[in-house]
Structure formats: C-alpha cells, structure tokens
C-alpha cells in the first residue's frame, strides 16, 4: 500500500494525559499498520469548540481555526489537514466554508492573522480520520491487515452528533449513517445495526454545565446498547466517548441502573484487529474496561496469518 501523508490536527483532548489520550495512542498504532504518516501541524491551537461561543463571537473563532490551516499550509504544504476529534473537524470545516463564501470574512481573518505573521490562503482541505479511512483507503484495504478478527464481539456503533451533523461523511444519511457499522464488520465484529440511539446527542459540553439533562440522554444511549445485547459501544468522537463512559456511575446512582458498558474508539477496534498490544491500542485508558477487546488483544496471533 502506498504511503499516505497528512497534516495531523490531534486536538486538545488527545494530548498526553488528556481525556482522549488513548484515542491518539490507538490512532498512531492503526496508522502505522496502514502505512499512513500523520505529521502534527507545528504549534496547532484549539479550535474553540462549539461551546466557546459566548466569549469568542464570530471572527475570533474563525481566526483560531484559520491559524491552523495557515500553519499547515506553511509547514506541510499540499497535505490535507486530518482531525481525529469531531469538534476540531467541525470547527475547521465550518471556518473553511464560511471564509470561502465571504470575501469580507476572509479579509478580516487575514488582517487578524497578520498579527501572528500568518496568512490563510484557503487551499488546504480538512478531513476527518474516518474520511481518510473509508475514502482514501477503502473498506477492502482496511480489512486486509486484520490478523485478529473481532469474532463474536457485539458492538453498538454510536456515531453521535458532530461527526455526523451538519457536514457528515459523504454518501451517509444524517438519521442512519452506516459507516461505523461497516468499519465494525470490516474488522470482523458483529455490528448491531438495529441500535436506535446511533445519532442521539450525549449532551456534548453541557454534560459539564447541565449534568442532569445530559445524563438523561446518556442513559438512553447506554440502555439501548444493553437492549441490543451489546458487549460494548464504539464511537468516533472523543467527547461522546468520555461522556458516555465516565458518567455511567453517576447515572447508576441517579437512576438505580447497573450500567457497566465499555465505550471504545473505532481506532481501538482496528488496532486490536491489526494485532496491537492492549497498551498500543490504548485499552489501559478506560474507566470501564473493554474486556472483550482486551481478551482478543492478549491472544497470540496464529502463525502464518501474518
């Protein structure tokens, strides 16, 4: 497989000891297997996320995102920017779209960027890691390096919001996107295609400020996974992962439930299927241990299959 290169925008939560640091660990492992080279954008900054609006206003938010594009263009010219975080991807994509549609906003952004010695030219694309996987590599090639198919693992694919709306993945519907289920099947897992909370909102940043309201959402998301007989939930979004995993104990207290449902990233499934150790797949980064994945990850690969 030809080596592919991208300008990597990992995002704040993926940093060392950040709340999604194990996402980054598993992405690195997955990309190594797929021969994808991800070079971090030098000195990248926060996208401002959706929740920063009250302080940012409009232009400052675009300027933050444009700075990353400008840095990528300068240091990693010609490479697409690839984000692993839903909010980073959405923020950057929204900025690119808005600046592309308004000469005024473009000029204002560049006037501000000049203060940091940078220029936004608008010639860099931004993609989600999932787009790289399914569009640039394709399901068939993604299945090729599988040495440990996730046989018998029942997985509820929780896509969530911001990887799905408002932009989404090309060719997928907003109400029932199928790519996550297809990825699960590609690595030999059992996709629970009837899982009905696939695109329900977990509360996002309001899990912090409005915990009761958000936990009512998360309760539905986890409960439905149990109803479908899931062994685990899988998601492409770092905030979905954190919210749905870490508040289960709070929900148990609030509602008298007995939730103990692991929530992993698609990249962890792939890393394990590709033969990564539990550590390489970031399986040590969970409060609720994904035991089924752990069992597969520690298995010795049958000789001759590699």
């Amino acid at each position: 497989m030809a080596k592919k290169e991208y300008a990597f925008y990992p995002g704040c939560s993926s940093q060392l000891k950040g709340s999604a640091s194990n996402y980054l660990t598993s992405v690195n492992s997955m990309c190594e297997t797929l021969d994808v080279k991800m070079t971090p954008i030098p000195d990248w900054n926060c996208c401002g996320a959706s929740i920063g609006y009250a302080g940012s206003g409009e232009l400052a938010r675009h300027v933050m995102n444009a700075r990353n594009f400008a840095l990528a263009d300068e240091h990693l010219h010609g490479q697409d920017v690839v984000a692993t975080c839903a909010a980073c991807w959405l923020g950057a994509k929204e900025t690119k779209e808005k600046l592309g549609a308004s000469a005024q906003l473009m000029a204002d952004t560049n006037e501000a960027l000049k203060e940091a010695g940078l220029q936004y030219k608008g010639n860099t694309q931004v993609r989600h890691m999932v787009e790289v996987l399914i569009e640039d590599i394709g399901y068939e090639q993604l299945g090729a390096p599988v040495v440990k198919p996730l046989e018998g693992v029942k997985i509820a694919g929780y896509v969530g919001c911001q990887t799905n709306r408002p932009f989404g993945i090309a060719g997928e519907s907003f109400e029932n996107p199928l790519y996550l289920d297809k990825l699960v099947e590609t690595v030999g897992g059992e996709a629970l295609t009837k899982y009905e909370q696939k695109v329900t909102c977990c509360g996002g940043a309001l899990a912090f400020s409005e915990p009761e309201k958000s936990q009512a959402q998360i309760k539905d998301i986890v409960e439905s996974a149990y109803d479908q007989g899931a062994d685990m939930i899988v998601t492409p979004c770092p905030l979905c992962q954190a919210n749905v995993e870490i508040y289960q104990s709070d929900i148990n207290k609030r509602y008298g439930t007995k939730f103990d449902m692991p929530v992993a990233y698609y990249s962890q499934l792939m890393a394990v299927a590709y033969g990564a150790t539990p550590k390489q797949a970031g399986l040590d980064g969970h409060i609720i241990k994904p035991t089924k994945l752990q069992e597969i990850a520690v298995k010795v690969v049958p000789t001759g299959k590699r």
Binding site: C12, S13, Q15, K17, G18, S19, N22, D43, W44, N45, C46, G48, A49, S50, I51, G52, Y53, A54, G55, S56, G57, E58, L59, A60, V63, M64, Q104, D108, T109, E111, A112, L113, K114, E115, A116, G117, L118, C161, Q162, R165, P166, F174, V199, C201, G203, G204, A205, L206, F208, S209, E210, K213, S214, Q217, I246, Y247, S249, D250, G285, I287
Partner: protein, 207 residues
C-alpha cells in the same frame, strides 16, 4: 442597564428583527423561518427550555426583545445540529442560537446564573490563554464557579470519576501548574485582540 444596550435600543427603537439581522451571527436568516416546528421536535433538550427556536424566531419578528435576550433557551443548545440538518428552509439554527446567546451576553442581558453561560465563557478564556485547553483547570473552574463551598462539594462528588481518569492516564494533576500550550502564545493574543476589534467595528459595537 448597560451603555451598550441603551445604544442598541436607541439605534433600533422598534425594530428588533433588524437589530438581530445586523448584529447577530447568521441573524439575517431569522426571517426565513416558516414556523413548521421541526426544530422544536428535534432538540435533545426539548423538555427543558421555555422557548423553542421556532418560538424564538417568531418572538424576534414580534419585537419581544427583552423576552428573547433574557431567555435561557439559547443556552440549552448542545450544538448537536439536529435542527440544522432537518430544517426544510436550511436555517443555520445552531449558529443563530449561539449568536443570540452571545449578543445577549454582550449586552449584559443574558441570565446571570445560567451554568452554560458561565461554562462557555470559562472555556473560551481557558483555551485562548495558551492556545490549548487546560482540562484540569477547566473542570476545577466549573466546579468552583459558584463559590468555594459549592466547589468543594462538587469536586468531592466527582472524586471517583477524577480518580478513574487519573488511573487511566487521562488526567494530569500537574496541569494545575502548567498544562499544554502553544509556543506562539503572544501571537495568538495579538491576533485575537485584532479579531475582537474588527468584529466590534463590523457589528456596530465599537464606541
């Protein structure tokens, strides 16, 4: 009442729709709403707010300025974009909700005690200080935003979650001293200052 609000009242006297169109991000879309109510039925926090986006849009057209700007409904937006993708008129509803909330905040009319208002300001301040989010300070800032006693109670209630994250290598206690940051912090501060200045000029907030 703040000076900025008085200036806005004087400028737009009885035309709140025009005020929204000129001063709120994506505000020019408000008049396109056809009152179908799909947004109201698509919102995950539907049971929690007083005014649906549909209602807010009609209230803007009816000139209910105080009711709109002091509403806590916009602050209930989780940025899930469900309303946006379902709106038959393709209004950027999420952005309008954020824009209205931001404008209300600017004028000093937003509900003071709304937790998401506080968290939103806290987040932006946190991430722009060094260019990257300091997750520990963000969480502590949230717990302690209603004072020391409330903060200690909340931090205590969340201790097991925090410990779990610590054990999982997803929380760094040393971030209280120094977290991840951008090298060009100064450049980021300069460009943001410039961005605020330009926006104030464009939206007519500048004195």
């Amino acid at each position: 009442m703040g000076a900025m609000n008085e200036q806005a009242l004087a400028k737009y006297t009885n035309n709140f729709l025009r005020e929204v169109e000129e001063r709120v991000e994506e505000g020019e879309w408000v008049k396109m709403c056809m009152q179908c109510g799909v947004c109201a039925g698509s919102c995950p926090f539907g049971p929690d707010w007083e005014h649906s986006p549909q209602k807010i849009f009609m209230m803007i057209r009816a000139g209910k300025r105080d009711e709109v700007l002091s509403s806590d409904s916009m602050w209930m937006c989780t940025s899930c974009y469900n309303c946006v993708v379902r709106c038959p008129r393709e209004l950027p509803i999420t952005q309008i909700m954020h824009g209205l909330a931001t404008y209300a905040q600017r004028l000093g009319l937003a509900p003071k005690m709304n937790p998401t208002r506080k968290f939103s300001l806290l987040f932006w301040d946190n991430c722009t200080r060094t260019g990257r989010v300091n997750e520990l300070k963000l969480a502590l800032g949230l717990y302690f935003m209603d004072g020391l006693v409330a903060g200690i109670k909340k931090a205590w209630a969340m201790r097991n979650t925090g410990l779990g994250l610590l054990m999982a290598g997803r929380l760094n206690p040393f971030e209280i001293l120094k977290g991840h940051e951008c090298k060009d912090k100064a450049g980021i501060q300069r460009m943001l200052k410039k961005a605020y200045e330009i926006e104030e000029k464009r939206r007519g907030f500048a004195k």
